[in-house]
Amino acid sequence: MDAIILQILNGLDKGSAYALIALGLTLIFGTLGVVNFAHGALFMIGAFCAVTLSRILTLSHTIIDDTQKDFLGNPLKVEVPYVHDIFGVATGDAIIDWAVPLSLLFAIPIMIAVGVIMERGLIKHFYKRPHADQILVTFGLAIVLQEVIKYFYGANPIPTPAPDAFKGSFDFGAALGFDPNLIIYPYWRIIYFGFAAVIIGGVFAFLQFTTFGMVVRAGMADRETVGLLGINIDRRFTIMFGVAAAVAGLAGVMYTPINSPNYHMGMDFLVLSFVVVVVGGMGSLPGAVLAGFLLGILESFASMREVIDIIPGINQVIIYLVAIVILLTRPRGLMGRKGVMED
């Protein structure tokens, strides 16, 4: 029982990342009908927004501290971050410590801008071209973005820790009445799951309860008619592309403490999130979220020792296996709508 709860918890944080990326992919696909292979790169750019902000915050200048001596007896040179000068030592340290959550604010405008520029500058020209061309050009874009990041940040993973307050682990077992230390779970992963739930809920609420969202949904169902009603649907879709980019980027920002960002993390997640989208059903937002969590949990169940002993290697392939079975038996995916990308 405790093992099962532990695996479900483990699956949730990976599932959250899958669900967030797949949600963005589906938003883009559902609104613009574009298959975006560069979506993983947006996830990565988000993660590097966090890296950039924590670098900016730790920018420092050297001063000579006369009160301390180094081992030769000379006055010690100390690196002092600029934030200390501006906010004072205590507040400055707190700001540096909270760099990752602060990056969320920093990342939102950047990601929306990146998304809008991408849509207006490149994707716009590919609406009328076949899906294969869209895949190819966004694949090229993904390579370019990845190499640009590699040029500026190097090829090694950059550790970006969570705030100290969230460094520990929460003893779920004790809370649920099991023996202590049986089910322990890092705080940050709980936060990641909560964050994902908020974002997903926010996107759905935005689409469901605002006029803007209603128009977008109408456009997803029948773009031409909405256009004929005199609504500038293209502009709204561009904004939705920005929102999708922001969702991917924020997922990336929050993922940095779990896995140190490197330049190819986008590509690693991209394949999996495409599989998630296909399992959930092309163009179905609830499907993408459901499939994301489902596959995340399945993956962590498959990596249990008991399961691996029976079927070796199952943890490596379970997601692909599920995708293949779903694609062949339920071509529309779990919750796919009729008439979306059926060929």
């Binding site: 190819l136 190499e147 599989v275 290697g313 490596q316 692909y320 995708a323 062949l328 060929d343």
Partner: protein, 398 residues
């Protein structure tokens, strides 16, 4: 000749001449000059040209003719490599059985994967092939380590039970791949004045196989079968309405291109007898897509051009460093020189992939037919200008 039309025959002859004289063509700089490092006529690189040429030709039979975009073709190349290395380990160091086995094994794998994947089309097909390839990659990397060598890759060892042949040579070394006694790595040097040219057995072996597979590809393109595949690409629905089942044709194309990939993998292992799982990763599949698109998808010569182009510039670009750039722009004023070098620096050396990505995007956006279409446009442009000139000349006479 060879049952080919005149234009195809001349294309084949051009490719044959280019590959046969590649050691001369790719070595334009004298051996001891400063530019000698940009010579591409060394065996390792030339082998890569033709091997990736085979791979891209095969990929083009699927993608170029039927329009099915597979993102998992590198898996077949990897499988072919493993099969060839196992043949070296167990049977003999002769490359012929190794390559035959690698083609057969890759063909079997592509039959199974193609049979399943081809039940869907479009983006779903791409994702299915991608999923299969990633699955094979993950398995080769972890559970199948006894067969694939896992992270270190599959290598020859001193105690391989080679049935036809010896486990180790008289000197206690691992024997090298050969074709009926002629070692793949042996080469002849020719020095002409300051130039030196290398003729490598392995390269010529690969080049001959590339020519044969190019010839087969031409025949497929011009056959009724190739016509059927084009019909699948242009309008599969209409084809179905006329009572034709497209599945056997697409499956055949998938298996053929999978066998080409296996052949390329077998050749790769024959040149250097080791095989690693990283050859199967989906970015490797992406590379052959890049080659085919860059060269010109659906054309005969395009994939070969693309493979050569990418591998050549990968080699050249990764050798240029900032010192060389400074030498090149030394004639400019200092400030301008530094500026130019700083602007160009991200695109060279390790930045080659950035250049490739940008180039690829430009090709997809502006030149969907790749280098071949570019050549045709330039050609047409010159012809038009020539035609205009001739008309202006002739009008007074009328």
């Amino acid at each position: 000749m060879f049952k080919l039309e005149k234009t195809d025959l001349s294309l084949l002859v051009i490719v044959a001449v280019l590959t046969m004289f590649a050691p001369f063509i790719l070595n334009p700089f004298p051996a001891d000059s400063a530019m000698a490092q940009f010579n591409a006529g060394y065996p390792d690189l030339m082998q890569r040209f033709v091997i990736f040429g085979v791979f891209a030709i095969g990929f083009n039979i699927l993608f170029g003719l039927t329009g099915y975009l597979s993102f998992g073709h590198a898996a077949f190349l990897g499988v072919g490599s493993y099969a060839a290395v196992w043949m070296f380990k167990l049977l003999s160091m002769n490359v012929v059985p190794a390559i035959i086995l690698s083609v057969i094994v890759a063909g079997l794998f592509s039959l199974v994967i193609g049979f399943v994947s081809l039940r869907r089309s479009g983006i779903y097909f791409s994702i299915l092939t991608l999923a299969f390839a990633q699955m094979m990659f993950a398995l080769a990397y972890s559970v199948l380590t006894p067969i694939t060598g896992g992270e270190t890759g599959l290598q020859l060892a001193l105690d391989d039970p080679r049935i036809l042949g010896v486990s180790q040579t008289a000197g206690g070394n691992i024997p090298v791949p050969s074709i009926f006694g002629l070692e793949m790595r042996s080469s002849a040097e020719l020095a002409l004045g300051a130039w030196s040219f290398t003729f490598n057995v392995g390269y010529y072996f690969c080049a001959l196989i590339m020519l044969v597979s190019f010839y087969v590809a031409i025949r497929i393109f011009r056959s009724p079968f190739g016509m059927m595949l084009r019909a699948v690409k242009s309008n599969q629905q209409r084809m179905n309405y006329t009572g034709l089942n497209s599945k056997p044709y697409t499956l055949a194309a998938f298996v053929i291109s999978g066998m080409y990939a296996g052949l390329a993998g077998g050749l790769m292992a024959s040149m250097d007898p080791l095989a690693g799982a990283e050859r199967m990763q989906w970015t490797a599949s992406g590379e052959v897509v890049l080659m085919t698109i860059l060269g010109g998808v659906g054309t005969l010569i395009g994939p070969v051009l693309g493979a050569g182009f990418i591998k050549y510039f990968e080699n050249i670009f990764s050798k240029i460093n900032s010192t060389i750039l400074h030498e090149w722009f030394a004639f400019l004023p200092d400030g301008l020189e530094d500026l130019l070098v700083n602007v160009l620096y991200p695109f060279i050396g390790k930045g080659w992939h950035l250049t490739l990505g940008i180039l690829f995007m430009l090709v997809v956006i502006y030149l969907p037919g790749g280098l071949v279409e570019g050549g045709q446009r330039v050609n047409g442009w010159f012809r038009n200008r020539g035609a205009k000139k001739s008309t202006t000349k002739t009008t007074p006479a009328e």
